[in-house]
Point group: C2
Chain length 669, copies 2
């Protein structure tokens, strides 16, 4: 068994697949083709610069061999060679290396994608330890590799999804056509079999209404059946409607998914919550692919703010390090950075935050070392756009998103400063980890300065809250900055208490309408021990969607709306995504605060288990870590913890109990 991986110029694999995926979005348009109105699927470009991979690679390694070895180079390109101690060989030839020290270089080029290499043999195994410089003046960086590509027969240009052919759960005549229901959201190629040759319009829908609305559905497939068959590009849908059809066609989906293993669970006495957990799990599954997607129907893009939340959910669901690393690299793109990530300033800041969080959950220092030079480039871009004193200010063309909400933006908004502050904190910690003490100290100082300024400039004593903007004099209060003040510990205990009263529990302050920011609100409330606010919201807000029949979590939910009003967004009747990853936070919230499992030292070297029964009578659940799982059971009288790793402390009623590896700890209350 070879210990080799396919390797490449760092980031090439991620940039290549990112480029492909960001250019797969389409939208259905009504087009006049030679005088006839037709519904057509039209390309929808990404709204930020999408970088392609580096097409050349040079990788090198020096190794001292204890005995004679034989190696053979595999590559995905004809344009390559292996240089052994300065002597060139083509690929697919066996090379014998004598005992002793050798230097091997791999050079390759591929115009259509990126060059990748694999060495088979008992020496010079290809992996991250190879260095790549690619003819830049920069110091060599570690080669890229992926756990998914470890066999010399692998094709790194084809992403390793799994496939399952599925039939609709119901087929019925409707509106002069045929409506197919696949039971819940699917993603994959639509397959037509045994069909009469000709052209068929397939109208897709996440809802019945969307599929049946042939003039306004968001996605359609123009199926040209030849030889009785047709296969589409991969698309997302629950329903397919084929208008003007009397005899149903044989339609299937070749369901395409990343084989992520759920390592977590949560079961309690509340069936709605159990159901919600599984719906969140499925929502995450559909949106976890090459990277973490926003939603599977519409964009299918990697958005940094959305992904930032998926990372947390992932740490409490599949704990797949690979997808987090891929997503971080995809979002970064390549040099030079000329615009914020996804064009959004807060999304750049979350990107910076995500690296420390990744390290803290996984303990994977290698990745931080590998990505740290990119972090510094991002920092340099960010600092080139700050106000002279280092506070955030909006520059032309920067999108300050924060949330789908109305802020007083007559000046930089408070919540943005807070994420910037948190980003500096992440930089400071990562820099320290990488031995860059100068940057670490500078970033720490800057984080402290921003925190100070936030408390000085944005706090309004009369409102007992942080205001959006201190320049306009309007003193507008929204939830966002106040949530971050609690969640990121940016203010005093006294001010936090005021915020809870004056903002969180104040019904006059516009409620959050996206599951996106609801994540932060609930995380903040749990952070200060108010679990009821969270469980109430799971029931009313998330439960509200489930009661309307949701099989996946929506991009946005406003309980006051009715019928197909729920599907409207961005000015389109069905433009809302009904399967949006940012709705999956209950998995994180229940894992971290009900089961109560979280690391206290990087990579779960030490961790706490601080379970809270909340509104439940009993629950049982599992949380994954890099070293195994932690299972927690709780009811009114007893807690038991079974952990596969050392370093744990059970905290219960102010008391601490040491958790021993693989030995159930039971505490009666």
């Amino acid at each position: 068994m070879s210990k080799s991986y396919w390797i490449w110029h760092p980031g090439a694999f991620e940039l290549y697949h990112s480029m492909l995926l960001h250019n797969r979005r389409t939208s259905a348009k009504t087009v006049n083709i030679n005088g006839k109105e037709e519904r057509r699927s039209v390309y929808y470009p990404p709204m930020w610069r999408v970088d392609g991979p580096c097409h050349n690679a040079d990788l090198t390694k020096t190794e001292e061999l204890q005995a004679e070895c034989e190696i053979e180079l595999f590559s995905n390109t004809e344009y390559c060679h292996i240089l052994v101690d300065g002597k060139k060989y083509p690929k697919n030839t066996r090379i014998v290396l004598s005992k002793g020290k050798h230097t091997v270089e791999l050079h390759g080029y591929k115009a259509e994608s990126f060059p990748a290499f694999y060495i088979k043999g008992n020496a010079f195994n290809t992996d991250r330890t190879w260095l790549s410089c690619n003819n830049n003046n920069q110091p060599g960086r570690h080669a890229g590799q992926s756990e998914l590509y470890k066999d010399h027969c692998d094709n790194v240009e084809i992403f390793k999804f799994k496939y399952e052919k599925m039939s609709p759960v119901s087929i019925k005549q409707e509106n002069g056509g045929v409506l197919y229901d696949f039971g819940c959201e699917k993603f994959g190629k639509i397959i037509l079999e045994n069909a009469p040759n000709g052209e068929y319009l397939l109208c897709l829908g996440e809802s019945v209404e969307e599929a049946l609305d042939t003039a306004y559905c968001q996605l359609c497939v123009n199926a040209q059946v030849t030889k009785g068959a047709f296969t589409s590009v991969p698309v997302a849908f629950r329903y397919i409607f084929v208008p003007n059809l009397t005899t149903p066609l044989d339609i299937f989906v070749n369901f395409e998914f990343l084989p992520l293993e759920t390592k977590a669970s949560f079961e309690c006495d509340n069936e709605l919550i159990n159901h919600l957990w599984r719906v969140c799990e499925y929502t995450m599954l559909l949106n976890s692919r090459e990277g973490f997607f926003d939603g599977i129907k519409r964009d299918r893009w990697v958005w940094s703010g959305d992904a930032y939340q998926s990372y947390f959910v992932n740490y409490y669901l599949a704990f797949d390090k690979e997808i987090v690393k891929r997503t971080i690299r995809m979002l970064r793109g390549s040099e030079p950075m000329t615009k914020h990530i996804n064009t959004i300033s807060d999304y750049t800041f979350y990107w910076l935050c995500s690296i420390w969080d990744y390290y803290f959950y996984t303990g994977d220092k290698d990745f931080v070392l590998d990505i740290y030079p990119d972090m510094l480039e991002v920092l340099s871009f960010v600092e080139g756009r700050l106000a002279p004193d280092g506070m955030f200010e909006r520059k032309p063309d920067d999108w300050v998103f924060m949330d789908w909400s109305t802020f007083d933006s007559n000046g930089p908004i408070c919540a943005e400063q807070m994420v910037l502050c948190k980003a500096y904190d992440s930089i400071s910690k990562c820099a320290e980890l990488c031995g860059d003490t100068k940057t670490s100290a500078r970033a720490k100082k800057q984080a402290e300065y921003i925190k100070e300024q936030i408390n000085l400039l944005y706090w309004n004593e009369e409102k007992g809250a942080f205001v959006d903007c201190y320049k306009s004099g309007r003193n507008n209060v929204t939830r966002h900055a106040n949530i971050f003040a609690i969640l990121f510990d940016l203010t005093s205990k006294e001010r936090k208490e005021k915020i809870v009263k004056n903002v969180i529990y104040n019904k006059e302050i516009t409620p959050i309408t996206t599951p996106y920011f609801e994540f932060y609100e609930l995380d903040a409330m749990c952070h200060i021990g108010d679990f009821e606010y969270m469980t109430n919201m799971l029931d009313s807000y998330w439960g509200g969607m489930l009661r309307l029949g949701a099989t996946t979590i929506w991009e946005e939910f406003d309980p006051t709306k009715n019928g197909i009003e729920h599907y409207e967004m961005y000015g389109g009747k069905y433009e809302k995504s009904l399967c949006h990853a940012w709705g999956a936070s209950p998995i994180y919230l229940l894992g971290k605060y009900a089961l109560g499992v979280y690391p206290t030292k990087a990579g779960y070297r030490e961790y706490d288990v601080k379970p809270n029964l909340m509104c439940f009578k009993h629950f049982c659940g599992t949380v994954p870590t890099p070293k195994g799982t932690v299972t927690v059971k709780m009811d009114g009288g007893r807690v038991s913890v079974l952990s596969q790793l050392d370093g744990g402390t059970l905290i219960l009623g102010g008391k601490k109990y040491t958790i021993e590896k693989n030995k159930e700890l039971t505490v009666n209350m």
Copy 2:
């Protein structure tokens, strides 16, 4: 007839073809394949970072239509759409635009190459006037276009060469195999026809000796004949040797070339010079392709210093603006600039120089405006690597080439400072042309400062010459800096005279061995009116190669060598290029100084004709300009000039005569 061009994100076409061409180099290696020694063609990677094109494009234009118009979008990608006043259409659909103002956007993506667009119709013709922004924060830049791609059926991914199938001029049995001679250097795919199936090794050579030396020839083709035929990738050679062959195979070459029209001529009473001119012309033809190549056999790369000379030859041969612009863009690559062009500092400086020269010969201000932002980026890179006072100093990993010659490099060499000084002069003039007066003034001042410092630090009064290095105390004199001092007018008349005596005519100063630097030496001597030095050198140096049977000009020539010693270079028996563009300078020298035609205002708005009979009894020749040709005839008693353009002045014996367009001017001496 549509006035449209295929358009793309600026630079995408050039970067795409540059990436392909820089990755086509191979070298023949003896490889052990399963215990058997075989000669194989192995990939040889470029030694600098080669950038791929941008895979996304967005281009936009607003136009006021005087009447209803119909347009149709063509593109090389399925991933595209056209947005008319915010409404999307796919490609290949007819779109009717009403009278009035419209804004059209083109969006596209192509993973394998780059997206390109063509609008057919009587409005919104696609050309340079479209703006491209590609989701960067930078201001929009003009779309890229090429004169070669003006038909909607064109494929921008295939470079538009011409082809001609050619047979060998002789076939003979030799060394147990068969030797084919194609008469002179060819480039193209080798074709085997009516051949018995099997594998043949084709050993290629620019010389007979190389082709016959199966163990050391630089290039080989491993021909796998199936169904009686085989076609190779394009390669360069004059001779093909097939070892172990008794019955000759039918071998052809599909000669591949850029259809450049020679607009110049030179005929005189000296047959060697007439022959030389044609050999130089053919050498240029073979190396003028997607861009200007160094040599057609070995590298087939675009090197900035080599290309810089080809630009000048081109201005006196084909006057093809397109290939100059393509070459300049290819050399530039994309952001960020992390290493010197071709890794060589002087090559970056020549790149900067070339842009003003291009403008001065062509008058094409559009290109200067388009490339100016790139110039500024290069300037910023260069200045980030200069000494604190702005003089050149060598940084680690920078290659200071200057010439294949030995310099005292115990400190920055004088010639390098001189090219830097010239580069600042070019920047200053281009900046002024683009309205950037601040940069213009700063660059001018810097050029003056460097000139001053050169004269202060590097002039050695005792030697009466500039020394390589002023730090070592060795006072080593080479020709290079002294040539530039004359050619770039960097010193006083008095010092120039000393240089001519103490350096140029001083046989103790190592002579130039490359046609590359010989160009500058002869240019400098002609510049100060010493034509005899030049014509002597054409006879002895260039004539020396011709007398050895050269059918194209060599990379380097040392008359003291013998036999196959001439073919040796870089440690390889036949590694020298025998068809090297930098040898074609006689075309430039004879056009500029014998015919005496050169612009005095940009784009030949005004120009001089200052013919010099030199050592000739008579000559007649033509020089191209952007506005037509200038033909000059001269003998001992008479000069006549026939020009297709206004603005010319004939200068003869200190007198000036106005040249009238299309009217022959004859002056008796």
